[in-house]
Amino acid sequence: MSGSNRLAGLKARPKDTTVEEVRRVDEVGEARGFLDRTPRKKPGRKPSPRTYQLHPKVLPEVGEAIASEAEALGITQGQLIERMWSAYRG
């Protein structure tokens, strides 16, 4: 078996694939157990590639004080921790 001339004789049937047809195909498949098995994405916000996420647990009064201070300064808690780190290192 050789030669592309033989392949020229191969035919494809026209398939008008409308949204309605795909929906019908999905319905037929689902009735027979052919379900949507696309893996679900992990829920929640994706981690930022620009920042680093800390997960510190502190005593309640310390946490409240840090939150209040950041709010009073008009910065995020992360920015306040950056300042604290800078002071600690400096």
Partner: protein, 222 residues
């Protein structure tokens, strides 16, 4: 040009092997073959990573939402599209079947393969009814014995023929060269001509089997 879909909700029946053999042989005949690897196990991607034969283009990671547009964009003059599906009952499978000119259901000659594979055949028939057009489909028995036709093999063939199901002859025999294609990449002709490639079986017999199988598929696409 035609779209050939390998479908069975059961894994390990030989869908990827059929896809590789057909892609290689049709490419050798001069066709521009696009192979869509829709199997999360990525068997075809692994095969192509060792070197796909000339004329074969692989597209990986084709999911449920991309399958219809990807088949449509790959289809064209002088092109053959071969779709290797995952071995589960999913909407990806039902959507791919709707785009097929020929659905091939590989089946080992065992009662379990026949029972699970028949789900794919039933789905094709229901899709034909829903879409109001025929979708040609056929079973190929795989991993069969080269020496003797087992009792189960004969019974299954008789049942399929009795039910009016098209059974592709020849079956695909259990050959070491077929499984080793995934280790070496390329095609059986390259394997036969390269003394560096060591197989535990007879490559010439495997090649003859693959060519006869491709010829039988070709006859169904005319």
């Amino acid at each position: 040009m035609p779209v050939i879909v390998m479908a069975s909700p059961k894994g390990g029946v030989g869908k990827s092997t059929c896809a590789v053999l057909l892609a290689s042989e049709f490419a050798r005949m001069g066709a521009d073959v696009t192979v869509l690897d829709c199997d999360p196990n990525k068997s075809l991607t692994r095969w192509a990573s060792h070197g796909a034969p000339s004329g074969v283009t692989l597209k990986s990671d084709v999911g449920r939402s991309e399958i219809v547009p990807t088949i449509r964009s790959a289809d064209g003059d002088g092109k053959i599209v071969i779709v290797d599906l995952e071995g589960v009952a999913s909407q990806l499978v039902s959507r791919a079947i709707s785009q097929a000119d020929l659905v091939i259901v590989p089946m080992q000659p065992t009662a379990l393969d026949a029972e699970i594979g028949s789900e794919a055949l039933a789905l094709v028939r229901e899709e034909e009814e829903a879409l109001g057009r025929s979708i040609r489909h056929a079973v190929v028995l795989t991993k069969t014995s080269a020496a003797v036709k087992s009792r189960v093999h004969k019974e299954l063939e008789a049942q399929l023929n009795g039910a009016g199901i098209d059974v592709i002859e020849p079956s695909l025999v259990a050959r070491a060269a077929f499984s080793e294609l995934f280790a070496y990449g390329g095609d059986l002709t390259a394997m036969m001509n390269d003394p560096e490639m060591v197989t535990g079986g007879k490559v010439d017999k495997a090649l003859a089997n693959a060519q006869a199988f491709t010829e039988a598929v070709y006859e169904r696409l005319k």
